[in-house]
């Protein structure tokens, strides 16, 4: 594999969940959770996926790891098409592709010891270790900042932050190439969030990992990502280098998201001009036609209701799906454009 080839390549991937009704489970519609998204993830980078609840970011994570099968499109991992691989053929791949889950309380089996949880990947994959599984597990526990002597303890004996470390240890057991982290810190306390974010960054440097980080918290995503994709109702509306996205966001939705984040600076509240979106995110069962954001967008015109804007590259490494992108550089904190 050459340097420039993506580790993971996603092309027009769709996931429509059928909605059925009646005795014969007749299909009456589909929830278009993910509706034609494309992106690449290169080796060693971190791609952040942000969006509000229901935008399809978690479904995307599950499609990429093939916990769900896409209803359309193609997913390539290391140049190999994995879109419709069978469970049996997927199993060896699971070694290279792992997931960190959001809730450290429900993602660890309460009846298994830490040793059994972190050692499970070795047993399932039949991986031989030099000095036995126990030694390998203890090394990983140490790597994520846990005491290796806690090998025989149960999850309930640990705090939330420590549990998340156990989950991370399990993820790392087989030295995966790609890690999908679905809201890795949102269930943790503020002071613990920072510990786990730092840990993820250290591990990336140390083990040469590639991350896809899915989160709703824009500040966490900015801190951890190299590139960021913003999703809205099953579509990617903007994807760019971290710095570009946060300093000069082009899509109105990205602008609105950034200006909605409360800033921990009491003086700023008097000065800030905020973009106020009206209403809630529409249901993905019946998304608005054409540009899906037009129902909440202050710049929407007739064309937005009839023609869907394609995701186009408007600057190097900066793609946006909008008919009227904000071209003037807009700073996230001192929004001057796009006021109500």
């Amino acid at each position: 594999m050459s340097e420039n080839e993506p580790l993971l390549s996603v092309r027009n991937v769709e996931k429509h969940f059928p909605v059925t009704a009646g005795l014969f489970k007749r299909q009456v519609g589909a929830v278009k959770a993910v509706d034609g998204i494309s992106f690449d993830v290169f080796k060693g980078e971190t791609l952040g996926l942000v969006g509000e609840s229901g935008c399809g970011k978690s479904t995307t994570g599950r499609l990429v790891t093939r916990l769900l099968e896409p209803t359309g499109g193609a997913i390539d991992f290391e140049g190999r098409d994995i879109t419709h691989l069978s469970q049996g053929k997927l199993r060896p791949l699971r070694r290279d592709m792992q997931m960190i889950f959001q809730d450290p309380y429900s993602s660890l089996n309460p009846r298994h010891t830490v040793g059994a949880i972190v050692g499970a990947p070795f047993r399932i994959q039949g991986v031989k270790t030099d000095n036995g599984v126990k030694k390998a597990v203890q090394e990983i526990l140490e790597l994520v900042g846990l005491n290796p002597e806690h090998y025989n303890r149960y999850p309930h004996e640990f705090s939330g932050g420590q549990r998340q470390r156990i989950g991370i240890a399990r993820t790392l057991a087989l030295k995966p190439k790609l890690i999908i982290a679905d809201e890795p810190v949102s269930a943790l306390d503020v002071s613990i969030q920072a510990q786990v974010v730092n840990l993820l960054e250290d591990l990336q440097k140390e083990l040469d990992l590639t991350y896809v980080v899915i989160a709703h918290d824009l500040s966490v995503v900015r801190h951890i990502s190299d590139r960021v994709a913003v999703m809205y109702l099953g579509k990617i509306v903007e994807i760019a280098e971290r710095k570009r996205l946060y300093s000069s966001p082009m899509h109105p939705y990205t602008n609105a998201l950034l200006s909605a984040v409360p800033v921990p600076d009491p003086k700023a509240r008097k000065e800030r001009e905020r973009i106020r979106l009206k209403g809630d995110v529409p249901s993905p069962l019946n998304p608005p036609p054409a540009c899906r954001f037009h129902t909440r967008c202050w710049k929407a015109q007739e064309i937005c209701k009839t023609v869907e804007p394609p995701l186009e590259s408007l600057a190097s490494g900066h793609s946006v799906a909008c008919h009227f992108p904000e071209n003037a550089p807009v700073a996230a904190t001192a929004d001057t454009a796009g006021k109500d």
């Binding site: 420590q162 002071s191 974010v197 824009l218 909605a260 800033v263 600076d265």
Partner: protein, 341 residues
């Protein structure tokens, strides 16, 4: 005396494993039209405080002592009946998760009407009209129709609006919001925070907002109280807490947050360790096992509980370190690091 005066409030729960000191000597005051932000991590006692003020621990296993004065009435020693008469009318609460705090069996309107008619002797028609007005006031479209909807028919943001409408139904003078926006998306959170700010201005009520998010309190609060291990560790005006905090825990909270308004740093500055369990609060200063400056207290950190003492600038800090040393640390070591963040 302020409109709300809490003096040395203690809420302890005896359990089989020992005494849980959820709230351990809390003192604060709040005027009408002002907002107090209570900030803390899980298990710091912030929610127990709010339930305690509302009298919702009465009759349970909790051992409550201290004083709560609301507009000249003392609530801790008052009979449960008397407090019930105030609840909903004079003080009301907005809960974190509107789906689990509304009854799924009854329409939203029914639940607002019920709350209103308990305190007002009016006909159902009048109460219904009031409910429709309120739903409109909190920004629910077509309130005359939506009044007959069930909670599950509302989106998360609308449910939280309905919840606010219910809390406001009897024009409470004290409103307590416990993590009112934690369950919401960021664009909806901004709408709800705006709504709460507008409503407070309109009703001139006293507002207590409980949250772990320093961004939310920076938006709304006039005063901030930082809780740790059941105790107040720092209490002062919002500007003081953000621009010249003196407690190492507050520094830690500020350093832990990635911020959108600053250039990103290489690394966050987390607090080591994890918050204590309230059943086993460390002796002395509860924060000392996690405090990077615990060795500067001549050994008192683990033996003596520090007093909540005023700083030169008038806000209160519970720390053993001498005032001058804290100021020097903040000015020379902490502030420069946080500001480059």
């Amino acid at each position: 005396m302020s409109f709300l005066d809490v003096k040395d409030l203690k809420i302890h729960f005896p359990t089989d494993d020992g005494l849980v000191r959820s709230v351990d000597g809390l003192t604060f005051g709040l005027e009408r039209g002002k907002t107090l932000g209570i900030v803390g991590e899980s298990g710091s006692g912030k929610s127990v405080t709010s339930l305690g003020i509302l009298g919702l621990h009465k009759g349970g296993r909790a051992k409550i002592s201290g004083e709560i004065w609301l507009d000249g009435e003392e609530l801790v020693s008052a009979p449960a009946e008397q407090v019930r008469g105030l609840r909903g009318k004079k003080m009301a609460m907005i809960f974190q998760d509107p789906l689990s705090s509304m009854h799924p069996y009854y329409t939203v309107g029914h639940q607002i009407i019920e709350a209103y008619r308990i305190h007002h002797d009016v006909s159902k028609q009048v109460a219904r009209k009031h409910a429709v007005d309120l739903l409109g006031r909190v920004g629910i479209p077509e309130p005359a129709n939506r009044v007959d909807s069930y909670p599950h028919e509302f989106s998360g943001g609308m449910r939280q609006r309905a919840m606010i409408a219910m809390a406001l139904s009897c024009d409470p003078e004290l409103l307590i919001a416990d993590e009112p926006t934690t369950a919401l998306d960021v664009t909806v959170q901004a709408q709800i925070l705006d709504l709460m700010r507008d409503l407070q201005r309109e009703f001139n009520s006293a507002l207590i907002i409980i949250t772990h998010d320093l961004g939310v309190v920076a938006e709304l609060a006039d005063d901030i109280l930082v809780m740790y291990g059941g105790k107040c560790v720092e209490y002062g005006s919002t500007d003081e807490i953000f621009y010249s905090p003196e407690h190492p825990y507050t520094w830690g909270l500020l350093g832990s947050m990635p911020r959108l308004d600053r250039e990103p740093t290489e690394r966050l500055l987390p607090i080591k360790g994890s918050p204590p369990s309230l059943i086993n609060v460390p002796p002395g200063c509860a924060f000392h096992p996690r405090c990077p400056y615990a060795d500067r207290t001549e050994g008192r950190a683990s033996t003596e509980v520090p007093d909540l003492a005023p700083t030169e600038r008038g806000h209160l800090v519970r720390c053993h370190m001498p005032r001058t040393e804290r100021r020097t640390l903040w000015e020379n070591e902490i502030k420069p690091v946080l500001e480059t963040q």
